[in-house]
């Protein structure tokens, strides 16, 4: 018996999360329904995430289970820790705001836990079926939480849009998977890699079409242009803490899945997928940067910012190789921190009667709440890629592999896009510091403040060697384990 359990030990983090979700669901269903109880469940859900994180750290040798469908390697562990951190951070942000919006339901933490479990399956996927199952588990839970304020027309609309378009993208992904299966006769990444590495595989339309459809499906999940259209609407419509969740962990998971797919299943057709990635990267960087100009809603702005960021994260992937994967991982790690920090600030834009989302409401924030203004300014500077903040290094490590691989013009477009992007980030800074002050916001809540402070420390302190070096090294180890 113990030996059997020992064999499944690499699944422990997922098991902890899934079991935790079910126990909490039961607790929620059988205990009285009130805010105190829901708070308790939220705390317990956070504890579950922490426990899963501890379990990941404690894992032994890398392993492959279920005929390679579940891969536990350094890459998976690195990304899973990121995902857990992103999910946990967003969950902390969700407490008070969801309570204030009157939609504080115990299902929320349970669904978020299940979504996290889905993401963890995704990043460990070594088989097309595991890929799809993880993706659906994650997506379905996210569709629901996006619409969780069911009496709010915007939230419902966001959930519905996300669902319909997500279903379409799933259809494309499945079609691509079936084409690949038709080509290789197997769904495992290793098998596909073997079949696709024969000479002339890149000329095979079945393979190339399967590749395209599959990548389109994943591009939707990372909201790369032109499969990004849902992003601004869903970000704006969903309750803000949920938006924070959507913007952080799922992006990392989907990006990691994409990396693993192209690097382990399709190394034989790199010239082909490289073109697609380059196209997606350029389109995302440009549309993300240009689309954000003129936005007045801060959540929509963050949506475009997120689109552009996904474009930057795709740049090193286009370069390929372990260094490219490392670039993606570093970028996503820093992206999570900046995003959660920025959303912590957005959640602190409160007046009587709820959150305000208009950027102009930030006017003169520096005079009424200097800490918040400073923190948001730092996140904006960081997103704009100004040294010595973390965002600069993210871009540095993203563009470097592309330059090394000879994709100069991709790096050039990236730098141009980030110059354009700097405009709208700086606009916010300008509004906060130089415009006439409007009515002050309510005091920042402790939980938001904690997240903002933590993210701020990381963004400012990234330049310190004991912050940057371990991350870079861990990402390097993780990337090297992709085979």
């Amino acid at each position: 018996m113990m030996a059997v359990l020992q064999a499944y030990a690499p699944l422990l983090p997922e098991i902890i999360i899934v079991l935790g979700a079910m126990v909490l669901m039961m607790q929620g269903a059988f205990r009285p329904e009130n805010d105190a109880e829901t708070s308790r469940i939220m705390w317990l859900a956070l504890a579950v995430l922490v426990a899963a994180g501890v379990a990941i750290v404690q894992l032994g040798e890398p392993a492959r289970l279920f005929g390679g469908a579940f891969v536990d390697d350094a890459f998976a562990r690195f990304v899973k820790l990121l995902v857990l951190a992103g999910a946990g951070g967003a969950m902390v942000l969700a407490f008070d705001e969801m309570k204030a919006q009157g939609s504080f339901k115990f299902e929320l933490p349970v669904l978020l836990l299940l979504a996290t479990a889905g993401m963890m399956v995704m990043v460990s996927a070594g088989d097309l079926m595991a890929l799809y199952m993880g993706l659906e588990l994650q997506s379905l839970a996210l569709y629901v939480v996006a619409a969780i304020r069911r009496d709010d027309a915007k939230s419902s609309e966001a959930g519905l849009k996300y669902f319909v378009l997500g279903a379409l993208s799933s259809g494309m992904l499945l079609y691509g998977a079936s084409l690949l299966y038709g080509f290789a006769g197997t769904t495992s990444f290793a098998g596909i890699a073997a079949a696709a590495s024969v000479a002339g595989a890149g000329q095979n339309l079945l393979l190339v079409f399967g590749l395209v459809f599959l990548m389109v499906g994943l591009a939707f999940k990372v909201s790369a242009v032109p499969f990004h259209m849902w992003t601004p609407d869903v970000y704006q419509g969903a309750p803000t803490p949920i938006t924070a969740f959507l913007a952080a962990a799922p992006k990392v998971a989907a990006m990691a899945l994409l990396v693993r797919l192209v690097m382990t299943a399709l190394p034989g057709v790199q010239p082909q997928w490289q073109q697609i990635i380059v196209f997606l990267a350029i389109a995302s960087m440009v549309v993300g940067a240009l689309g954000a100009i003129g936005q007045t809603n801060i959540k929509r702005l963050m949506a475009y910012s997120s689109i552009a960021n996904m474009g930057y994260a795709l740049v090193p992937l286009a370069a390929g190789g372990a260094e490219g994967a490392q670039g993606v991982l570093i970028y996503m790690a820093i992206y999570i921190v900046m995003t959660l920090g920025a959303f912590g600030c957005i959640l602190s834009m409160r007046r009587e009667g709820g959150l305000v989302e208009d950027i102009n409401e930030l006017a003169g924030l520096a005079q009424t709440n200097l800490f918040l203004a400073f923190a948001l300014a730092m996140f904006m500077f960081s997103l704009a890629g100004i040294p010595p903040l973390a965002g600069f290094f993210a871009k540095w490590f993203a563009f470097l592999p592309a330059v090394k691989a000879g994709l100069y013009w991709l790096a050039v477009i990236g730098v141009v896009a980030s110059v354009i992007g700097a405009y709208y980030y700086l606009r916010i800074v300008k509004i906060m510091f130089f415009d006439d002050a409007k009515a002050p916001f309510m005091a920042t809540r402790a939980k938001e403040g904690a997240i903002v402070a933590l993210a701020l420390v990381l963004v400012l302190g990234f330049v310190l060697p004991f912050v940057a070096s371990p991350l870079v090294e861990a990402a390097g180890t993780a990337a090297a384990s992709l085979k």
Binding site: V208, L400, V415
Partner: protein, 675 residues
């Protein structure tokens, strides 16, 4: 240890003033930062003599940062003669500016913040000049950019100051873009970003090419040009100069520190520092020369007609930076750095003097509202006079002169010795020297001589038609009538002491150091800090130019002085008459060759328009979708794609399908390498 002290004392000062400024009070913040800077300045001089004459060089590794693959980045200090020169310039001027600011800013309610910024800037600048790899250079580069943004926008309640700060930042980003690409390229080519390793590998790279869009492009030339783009941004060279005059909205001590002595010279420093690279890229050097000469000329022409006392000096700075670049481009790096060195003294002196004038006039900056101040602020007048003599390069060839005389004449001579096509560099620089003399003396005469115009408000405009363009009028009126009930007064001692010190520098810095910087001892002095190719003898050649060449700048200077005296002292009606006679030329110069307007048309408005289009077209309006079904032309298809952010799910789904079809078709049509 002494190096670390020099580097970190300003940072400590900045932190104390910035974080605890409110707790310890303004006075304490001022004293702490100024004292720390003064110590750093003294230490810098020690290092300077130690390195320059004792020939010690040093590499200090402070911190390993990231080691990953073949990327090894650590934070180290590189001390050689070039660094030592820069240390002296930066710390001396900075310490004096700190001291000066105590007097100049004594009415400002957030002085401690100001001092924190000043010290922070100094730290960033020190980072820049002590860097021993490209990433660190970039760090310092961006750091001074940030500090400059903060300082220009220090009076953030002024909308112009805000706009100027943004403008400085954005224009610099353009340069930094090239700079960053250059660093990427360096890493790609050399697999390292440490200076020593890159310089060691540079000779092997000379003349090699890479394929770009079917053209064979020289690698080193490309890299050097990209890096030079960064230098152009920082040093306000032609095309990227537009931020510098606007940056004068910041407090005057800031202008003296950042926009005269230190930050703007970072570009020159970089070219000198990277001389081992540039020496192997002759085409890039030609570009550097051309841009430098063009800037020297262009900025001087604009300086002729400006009325704001600080803007005149700003354009003068721009022009002098052009001289420095021209020298570097010709291979006379030592001459460029020498001019940088002397220029720091006399230009800071002029700026601080101008600050003293502005202080005396209660923050009036328009020279049309000054005049006759010599009687009221004689000390300032004397100091400004020394600065002007140094800037215009007064001296006797073959003997001795003010600081600028030695350095600038060396550059003009180098321009002759450098054999540019038609000797264009020499002639244009000589003409620029003439104009420099003219506008410098014009400034002196309009400010200190002539009859006072500040007593009767704007009555002076009648006899000097420089007020022809209306924009300034409102400004004048505000100050003109009752703002100056009392007479101009001399500045306090705390502001005058820096002037005295700088004046000494402006007097002797040229004569006492010329033998070391560019004279017989230059090889020993610079050691390996500056590199010269085997065929580069320009520093030797410039001493053997014909007599008439050596006299040319002096003659240009004297004729500029004479013309200025004629225009502004003997016949004060002449300027207006000239302006009327050559009105298009006058307006062209007054509007700075219309660069701001041009950029507004070319860059700012289209960018705004694109943004607005994507926003309004994309999100703002829900399109009704009444496309005539039969006439769905391609144009309309693309139109729809852009406007697709409508909120309709089926539009979104459609965009996805189109994207999919596009990628599929790409491969299907064989464009993606699939038959």
């Amino acid at each position: 240890m002494i190096y670390k002290a020099i580097l970190f004392l300003p940072l400590i000062g900045a932190l104390i003033a910035g974080l605890f400024g409110r707790a310890i009070g303004h006075r304490a913040a001022e004293i702490v930062t100024t004292a720390l800077l003064a110590i750093a300045a003294v230490l810098s001089w020690i290092v300077f003599f130690d390195v320059g004459f004792g020939h010690t060089t040093a590499r200090v590794t402070l911190l390993r940062w990231v080691t990953s693959g073949n990327l090894d980045v650590s934070w180290g200090i590189r001390i050689d003669t070039l660094t030592a020169v820069m240390l002296v310039v930066v710390n001396t001027v900075s310490a004096l500016v700190h001291l000066y600011s105590i007097g100049y800013m004594h009415e400002d309610p957030s002085r401690s913040r100001f001092f924190a910024y000043l010290s922070l800037f100094t730290f960033a600048m020190l980072m820049l000049v002590t860097s021993d790899n490209f990433l660190q250079l970039f760090f310092g580069w961006e750091g001074v950019g940030l500090a400059s943004y903060l300082l220009i926008g220090f009076w953030y309640k002024k909308p112009e100051a805000n706009a100027a700060a943004m403008k400085a930042f954005v224009v610099n980003r353009v340069g930094d873009f090239g700079f960053a690409l250059g660093i990427f390229g360096i890493f790609f080519i050399f697999q390292t970003i440490g200076f020593d390793q890159v310089f060691a590998a540079a000779p092997d790279m000379a003349g090699k090419t890479f394929n770009f869009l079917g053209y064979q492009v020289d690698i080193l030339t490309t890299l050097c040009l990209l890096l030079f783009l960064g230098a152009m941004g920082k040093s306000a060279q032609f095309m990227l100069h537009t931020w510098l005059p606007d940056a004068m909205e910041g407090p005057t001590p800031v202008s003296a520190l950042i926009h005269a002595a230190t930050m703007v010279t970072a570009g020159v420093f970089m070219v000198a520092r990277l001389s081992p690279l540039f020496e192997h890229a002759p085409t890039a050097l030609e570009v550097v020369t051309f841009v430098g000469v063009l800037t020297a000329f262009f900025a001087a022409t604009v300086g002729l007609v400006q009325n704001d006392i600080k803007r005149v000096i700003a354009y003068s700075t721009c022009s002098q930076l052009g001289y420095m670049f021209a020298a570097c481009g010709l291979g006379a790096y030592a001459a460029g750095v020498f001019h940088l060195f002397t220029h720091a003294f006399f230009k800071a002196l002029l700026f601080l003097g101008a600050g003293s004038v502005i202080h005396a006039m209660h923050h009036e900056q328009d020279m049309r509202n000054m005049g006759g101040l010599k009687a009221y602020i004689p000390t300032t007048w004397a100091m400004m006079l020394i600065g002007t003599l140094a800037l215009t390069g007064v001296g006797i060839p073959g003997l001795a002169g003010f600081a600028g005389f030695h350095s600038k004449d060396a550059i003009v001579e180098a321009a002759y010795a450098g054999h540019t096509p038609y000797n264009y560099a020499f002639w244009v620089l000589a003409v620029a020297a003439f104009m420099t003399s003219f506008y410098s003396w014009r400034l002196m005469f309009m400010t200190f001589h002539q009859s006072p115009r500040w007593k009767d408000g704007h009555g002076a405009h009648g006899h000097d038609d420089h007020g022809a363009h209306g924009a300034k009028h409102g400004h004048d009126d505000k100050h003109g009538h009752d703002g100056h009930g009392h007479e101009p007064h001399e500045s306090p001692l705390v502001m005058l002491i820096p002037l005295f010190v700088l004046a000494i520098g402006a007097l002797i810095a040229g004569y006492s150091f010329k033998e070391y910087f560019i004279g017989h001892d230059y090889k020993a002095f610079w050691a390996k800090a500056l590199y010269e190719g085997p065929n580069n003898h320009i520093l030797h050649d410039l001493h053997s130019v014909p007599k008439w060449v050596a006299w040319t700048p002096t003659i240009a200077m004297l004729s500029g002085l004479a013309l200025s005296y004629l225009y502004y002292v003997l016949a004060p009606g002449l300027p207006a008459a000239t302006a009327r006679a050559f009105r298009p030329v006058y307006l062209f110069l007054l509007n700075k060759w219309y660069f701001d307007e041009l950029y507004d048309r070319i860059f700012v408005r289209p960018a705004m328009a694109i943004g607005r289009f994507l926003w309004k077209g994309g999100d703002g309006t829900v399109i009704d979708g009444t496309i005539d079904g039969t006439a769905a032309t391609v144009g309309k298809v693309t139109d729809r794609v852009v406007k697709l952010q409508t909120g309709y799910v089926y539009h979104y789904a459609f965009a996805m399908l189109i994207g999919l079809a596009a990628i599929i078709s790409w491969f299907m049509l064989g464009l993606g390498g699939v038959k």
